[in-house]
């Protein structure tokens, strides 16, 4: 029992950190530019594919560094050459642009690597047990994922708080006109933030590509969950995104381990539910089966109880 709890907790934390890595980039972009980047999860997918391909050519460790940079460059290009032309048409047009972009990126990936999941196996160099807990070993690559996530956040935190560029970006987050009036190139800052956000998602893709299936559908699988994180955490709040990510990551991971259903509860309470009752099917659903629903149930609950989200600041 304790074993299940501990491992679920560990895995939940890893998953939550992954979600946070992707959603923090999204929140950053949204806070600064008001753009909801539908293609953000696509950057995650590109990170996975690039690291796979680069890994085959130049090895894992260089790929770990280069793939996110490549994705960041693509993000910068998207903002500079695509999104910038759509800004003046309003937020709806911006969202639709990124929506179409996400679609096209999937097709580009299919053209590059085909429709089937690719063999993105954990590289041998990190494929060993990191430590033993309760007699079961915990894989090193997951520990590495955790380490990379935490390291990236520490680096970003310091960069934003201690460097001049970080200061300018933070100022532009709340007062873009003032920052522009002070002589800083706000469009350049937009490009930079878009690049950073995309690179973050790309890095998440590099390490997430091992844990999750690397296939053209992975962006569409992760994207909605990331959006839920952002709404539940509260638009524009990075701390909110963190809490929501960890919440969803841990709860969903725990749920997958729980093989119980309402029916089991009824049996324990000695309540009987006939097989032909219309609710039988609903009650027979196991929590593990319903796990994919959890983020969205959380979304609905949040909408009812606290529409602003946990720590919402910026309104649409």
């Amino acid at each position: 029992m304790l074993e299940i709890v501990t491992f679920s907790l560990l895995n939940g934390v890893v998953y939550g950190l992954l979600l946070f890595m992707v959603s923090s980039g999204l929140t950053l972009i949204f806070s600064l530019m008001g753009v909801l980047n539908f293609a953000h999860a696509s950057m995650f997918m590109l990170g996975a594919y690039f690291s796979y391909q680069l890994g085959r050519w130049i090895g894992f460790w260089p790929a770990l560094v280069i793939a996110p940079l490549l994705v960041g460059a693509i993000g910068a290009a998207v903002e500079r050459y695509g999104l910038r032309h759509v800004h003046r048409q309003g937020h709806v047009a911006e969202i639709l642009f990124t929506f179409g972009l996400a679609y096209l990126i999937v097709e580009a990936v299919v053209m590059g690597w085909g429709r089937n999941p690719i063999e993105n196996r954990v590289p041998a160099v990190i494929d060993f047990p990191a430590f033993q807990l309760f007699g079961t070993s915990y894989p090193a690559y997951k520990a590495l994922m955790m380490a990379i996530s935490v390291g990236m956040f520490a680096f970003l935190y310091l960069a934003f708080r201690r460097t001049r560029v970080g200061l300018i970006i933070r100022a532009a987050l709340s007062h873009p006109e003032m920052v522009s009036a002070l002589g800083h190139d706000v469009p350049r800052i937009f490009v930079l933030v878009f690049a950073i956000g995309s690179a973050l998602a790309g890095l998440a893709g590099v390490i997430g590509g091992f844990a999750l299936l690397t296939e053209p559908n992975m962006a569409a699988a992760l994207g909605p969950i990331v959006f839920v994180v952002v709404v539940v955490g509260g638009l524009g709040s990075i701390s909110g995104a963190f809490i929501a990510s960890m919440l969803i990551g841990i709860v969903q991971t725990f749920a997958v381990a729980l093989d119980y259903s309402l029916l089991d509860l009824f049996n324990v309470l000695r309540v009987s539910l006939g097989r032909d009752s219309p609710f039988y099917e609903l009650a027979a659903v196991k929590i593990a089966q319903a796990a994919p629903l959890i983020p969205y149930l959380l979304l609905v609950a949040m909408l009812i109880v606290r529409p602003r989200g946990l720590l919402g600041t910026r309104e649409a």
Partner: protein, 439 residues
């Protein structure tokens, strides 16, 4: 048009004639719908099937435009109401198959009812916010319902879906719904009725306020209307008609599966409404017809048809945000000018390099796509009635060359088009023909 002549009989006729001339467009549309399935080329099973599909898509897209174009609400989960309406309809069909004495043509009403119910249910939650948050929430609810449908297999049949027989039930007036022609007419009836009802809705006080809330929700509040309530009404009505479309879908295909509530279908209707044009009521119909036709016909020629649709969509977002109907109505002010013919001529001239570039681009895309998705099919590919060997560099070089030449030449022809437009615009303005009518 008609004069009110003395005598009650002729003034009644006068009123009828006045009404008919006002509703000219609708009457013409009805006439076209009646005649279409008998037009040569469309009078086979395939043609009538296609028309049926277009009818369903048109209702769905119109309902979506009620949200986006008329109320300013961008939804990524509209298929929820389409699919749930479809499920309600298919279960009703099964009940009819089992002996319930309701004629099949009335089944879409169940779809509408389910759409309305769930629209009000989810709408109460989601319309409190607008803009980006609304879009995200609609996505979340779409995923929720899709996942739920996959889990609740008894109700939804999961990925495989639920089936029914549209021919098995009471046959009023000999209507068996066996032949596709009969199904088409049922669909056409519901489609034109839905369109008329939606147009009528937009003329009601709350319908007008939908437009106002779209343009300026803050000001709408300051003239006495709760923007949240207006959005809720729009959402519920849109969901109802989406459900009706789902009911038509159930009738037509006799099967409803989880994909009917899925993200793909939500994306498809967004594509249709946007490419058709969100600024005009008719745009959604145009988009539905175009995209349905593309989906059906392109997939015969290429496996990359989704890619082409995506490119089409991006082109609309970047270059033609008003969609097809926007492009068409853009020409209205210059229609009567003499320079209009010149404009058309420059279009023809510019079309040539555009086609050349398109051929090159298509070659590249197709060759790449084939290589990536069907590696076992070999290196030979049949494009534009030519056999090409993609393992050699020649087809690739030819494609790149065509693309480059076409793009460069197109660049040169663009000023021609622009100048023709300037002349036409100036002529229209001086003729006073360009009084900007309300959108």
């Amino acid at each position: 048009m008609s004069s009110a002549s003395p005598g009650s009989g002729s003034s009644q006729r006068g009123r009828l004639r006045r009404w008919a001339s006002q509703q000219r467009a609708w009457l013409i549309a009805i006439a076209i719908l009646i005649v279409l399935p008998h037009v040569p080329g469309l009078d086979g099973n395939f043609g009538r099937s296609l028309l049926s599909q277009m009818g369903i898509a048109a209702v769905f897209a119109l309902s979506y435009n009620l949200l986006l174009g008329q109320t300013g609400l961008l939804s990524f989960g509209h298929a929820v109401y389409f699919g749930l309406g479809g499920y309600a309809a298919i279960h009703l069909m099964r009940a009819i198959n089992g002996g319930l004495a309701i004629p099949m043509p009335l089944v879409p009403i169940a779809g509408a009812g389910a759409g309305l119910f769930f629209g009000m249910l989810f709408g109460a939650l989601t319309t409190r916010r607008a803009g980006v948050v609304f879009a995200l929430i609609s996505l979340g609810i779409g995923e929720l319902v899709f996942a739920a449908m996959r889990i609740l297999q008894g109700f939804s049949g999961g990925e495989e879906g639920i089936t029914a027989n549209r021919g098995l039930g009471p046959h009023p007036f000999g209507l068996t719904l066996g032949p596709q022609l009969q199904v088409y007419y049922v669909i056409a009836f519901w489609s034109i009725l839905s369109a008329a009802l939606m147009a009528a809705f937009l003329r009601t006080p709350v319908g007008r306020m939908c437009n106002a809330v779209r343009d300026n929700p803050e000001r709408a509040a300051f003239i006495g209307y709760d923007p949240v309530r207006v959005r809720f009404v729009a959402f519920s009505v849109a969901a109802m008609f989406a459900g009706l479309a789902g009911g038509l879908h159930a009738l037509n295909y006799e099967i409803v599966a989880a994909e009917a509530v899925g993200a793909g279908r939500s994306g498809a209707v967004l594509l249709m409404a946007y490419i058709g044009g969100v600024h005009h009521f008719f745009g959604a119909v145009l988009g539905a017809i175009t995209i349905t036709w593309l989906q059906v016909s392109l997939s015969d020629y290429t496996t990359a048809w989704q890619l082409y649709l995506g490119l089409f969509f991006m082109a609309a977002v970047l270059f033609a945000p008003g969609g097809l109907s926007g492009l068409l109505s853009m020409h209205r002010p210059i229609l009567r000018t003499r320079a209009f013919l010149d404009v058309l001529k420059t279009y023809a001239i510019a079309a040539v390099p555009m086609l050349i570039a398109a051929v090159g681009a298509i070659m590249l895309l197709e060759m790449n796509y084939r290589r990536a998705t069907q590696p076992d099919a070999g290196a030979r590919i049949r494009l534009f009635a030519l056999d090409l060997d993609t393992s050699t560099p020649w087809p690739w070089l030819a494609a790149i060359l065509l693309l480059a030449i076409g793009a460069l030449l197109f660049r040169r022809t663009r000023p021609l088009v622009e100048r023709a437009w300037e002349r036409a615009g100036a002529e229209a303005r001086s003729a006073g023909a360009s009084s900007e009518a309300a959108g």
